[in-house]
């Protein structure tokens, strides 16, 4: 059984179909890129997969559960337990240090553990910046803190929305290397991007246009 399956999913806002009868399967441990131009429905799809929105029609089966039928409270629980989110704007709490930002995710999930949070920061190469506030970190460092926060609770899926959109090339490469490492460790990655260079390092790429899946590309030269 696939880890995530979208069956005939549509999201309708009045006369506009943000997603139009989308079908998609994501296997456990897969690295999927979702590409498409602005307004193609990428964000809507990410919100639905990330349990922050519900489809108007269709089923979204995540780990055997149809999240389209769940209540808002249950969706929060699923998001907390199964999904790690990485944002383009990083979205760190500006008055908490790097390690505290990672611990916030633990706080809502189970129990904060500073040692474990520091290990997560070490994994993204930021242990020595653990006590720094976001304003004292570069964009690349903030994104790595965001990745550490997304990974700390060992989620089923890591969902990244334009993770390199605000980064320079050097930091983009660091983030992509981290994704490679995660993939090697068996983490399921879904990366929403409009950047072909980010998409082509993924195992598979699906292309959205006007809310429809128009293309699926398997990366033949995919390296793990």
């Amino acid at each position: 059984m696939s880890l995530l399956e979208l069956k005939n999913v549509s999201k309708i806002y009045g006369p506009l179909k943000a997603l139009d009868n989308v079908n998609l399967q994501v296997e456990n441990g897969e690295w999927l890129a979702i590409m498409g131009p602005s307004g193609s429905g990428k964000s809507t799809m990410m919100n639905i997969i990330g349990c922050m929105d519900k489809p108007s029609l269709g089923e979204v089966i995540l780990d055997g559960v149809d999240i389209a039928k769940e209540s808002g409270k249950k969706l929060t629980e699923i998001r907390r337990d199964k999904i790690g989110l990485i944002f383009q704007q990083f979205h760190l709490v500006n008055y908490l240090t790097a390690v505290e930002n990672v611990m916030v995710s633990q706080y809502y999930h189970s129990m904060p553990d500073e040692k474990e949070a520091l290990e997560a920061l070490e994994r993204v190469g930021l242990k020595d910046r653990a006590k720094h506030l976001p304003s004292q970190l570069s964009g690349g460092e903030q994104q790595r803190v965001c990745i550490a926060r997304a990974l700390i609770n060992h989620p089923e899926i890591v969902l990244a929305d334009e993770p390199t959109g605000n980064l320079d090339e050097a930091n983009e490469n660091i983030v992509i290397d981290l994704f490679r490492q995660l993939h090697r460790e068996g983490t399921t990655l879904i990366v929403v991007t409009h950047d072909p260079e980010v998409a082509e390092v993924a195992q598979r790429t699906v292309v959205l246009e006007h809310g429809r899946l128009v293309k699926e590309i398997m990366n033949e030269s995919f390296e793990t």
Binding site: G50, M52, R80, F87, L96, V104, Y108, D113, L133
Partner: protein, 389 residues
């Protein structure tokens, strides 16, 4: 690490690392708490302060004999001791006797001048209070009748025998009289009946009349509320043989009326300030919470329940309320002290109980003020907020 520890770490970090924002909120709470605590201090201290002011209007309680006779010193002391020492401003026993000056019938009053100065601070004296035996204070009307001035001598005559029944009897009887010369040290101007009397000390009166331990009445100035005064009067009348205590209603009732109105005014101002504080704190907290909508969205995206977001924001608000309340209760005392010194010209008493009360009220007001904006913040859609929409 325990969840509570992380909770405290988050709310203290929010307060300490967002100093400028939090200082504004803290200032709003502290200013509100200062005015509130100051006004409550004044509200509770007004009766004492005003009571002291009202004492200048004279005695507010009198002791008379309950059986139509005279009062002994022992009975008066027994009655007086039932009043708390710190509330008794002044006590002056009085004894009145018919005397003559150059064959003119006059009234002499004996009293304790130290006590009279306290029970009748409104007495205006041209000269000085008698301080030595043989000194007298003469009422203005009597002084005019007898053409007496400060520094003059006056001889008081007291008939030791029973008053003659007829004019013939009086003419034929051998007069048994006692004469004493007094120095007039002051002329008393009150605008009242006191101007008709010649005041001498109780010791001089004993010497003149040969009678001791006999008083007609006593005036008391007591710093207490009307209810307390009533309760004192009832208790003294009941417990002390031969003494009847009564209130000088002219003084106590007007004091009570003015005090009630003043306290009602201060209470009204306090309530209005409390409401304004709530609006001010609510507005500030609303701004603080609104500018953190993105953070609320992020926390929700990370899996925070609405409840935990409310608890975190309320925790911050309550901590802020507590600190603001503590600062406010101390500044409130300084504020009340300044008002008291300027208005009443006397210092105010510090009420320790006001610290926990102010902190509690600040915490409640801040809590209530936070509740609405925090609840509305939980309606944030994380997907929209994180997209910056």
């Amino acid at each position: 690490m325990k969840k509570q520890t992380m909770f405290l770490r988050m709310i203290t970090a929010s307060l300490l690392r967002r100093r400028s924002r939090m200082l504004v909120a803290l200032l709003a709470i502290a200013v509100g708490a200062t005015i509130l605590s100051g006004l409550v201090t004044i509200y509770y201290d007004v009766p004492r302060q005003m009571g002291e002011q009202f004492r200048s209007y004279g005695a507010n309680m009198i002791f008379t004999s309950s059986n139509g006779g005279t009062l002994s010193e022992e009975a008066l002391n027994q009655a007086k001791e039932q009043i708390k020492e710190n509330q008794l401003v002044g006590f002056a026993p009085y004894r009145y006797e018919n005397i003559t000056v150059n064959e003119r019938p006059m009234m002499a009053a004996a009293t304790d001048f130290d006590g009279a100065a306290k029970t009748s601070p409104y007495w205006r004296i041209d000269g000085s209070w008698p301080s030595q035996p043989g000194e007298a204070l003469v009422g203005k009307e009597t002084a005019q009748t007898l053409a007496l001035n400060t520094g003059d001598k006056v001889t008081l005559t007291f008939d030791l025998d029973k008053k003659p029944a007829t004019a013939d009897e009086a003419a034929n009887a051998e007069r048994n009289q006692n004469n004493r010369e007094f120095s007039v040290v002051g002329i008393l101007d009150t605008g009242g009946n006191e101007e008709k009397y010649i005041f001498i000390s109780t010791e001089d009166m004993e010497g003149l009349t040969g009678k001791s331990d006999s008083f007609d009445m006593a005036e008391l100035s007591v710093s207490a509320s009307q209810n307390e005064l009533k309760s004192y009067a009832d208790s003294i009348s009941k417990k002390t043989d031969g003494v009847s205590a009564r209130l000088v209603k002219r003084v106590t009732q007007s004091e009570n009326t003015v005090l009630s109105k003043l306290q009602a005014l201060v209470l009204l101002v306090t309530v209005i300030v409390l409401l304004l504080t709530m609006i001010c704190v609510a507005t500030t907290m609303m701004a603080v919470v609104t500018e953190r909508r993105k953070e609320v969205g992020l926390r929700k995206a990370l899996g925070a329940s609405n409840r935990s977001i409310i608890v975190e924001f309320m925790g911050e608000g309550l901590l802020l309320g507590g600190i603001g309340g503590l600062l406010g209760s101390l500044c409130g005392f300084i504020f009340a002290q300044a008002v008291s010194m300027n208005v009443f010209n006397s210092s105010i008493q510090f009420h320790w109980l006001l610290i926990p009360v102010t902190v509690l009220v600040s915490v409640l007001v801040t809590g209530l003020s936070c509740l609405l904006p925090v609840r509305s913040a939980t309606d944030v859609d994380p997907a929209l907020v994180l997209k910056g929409e």
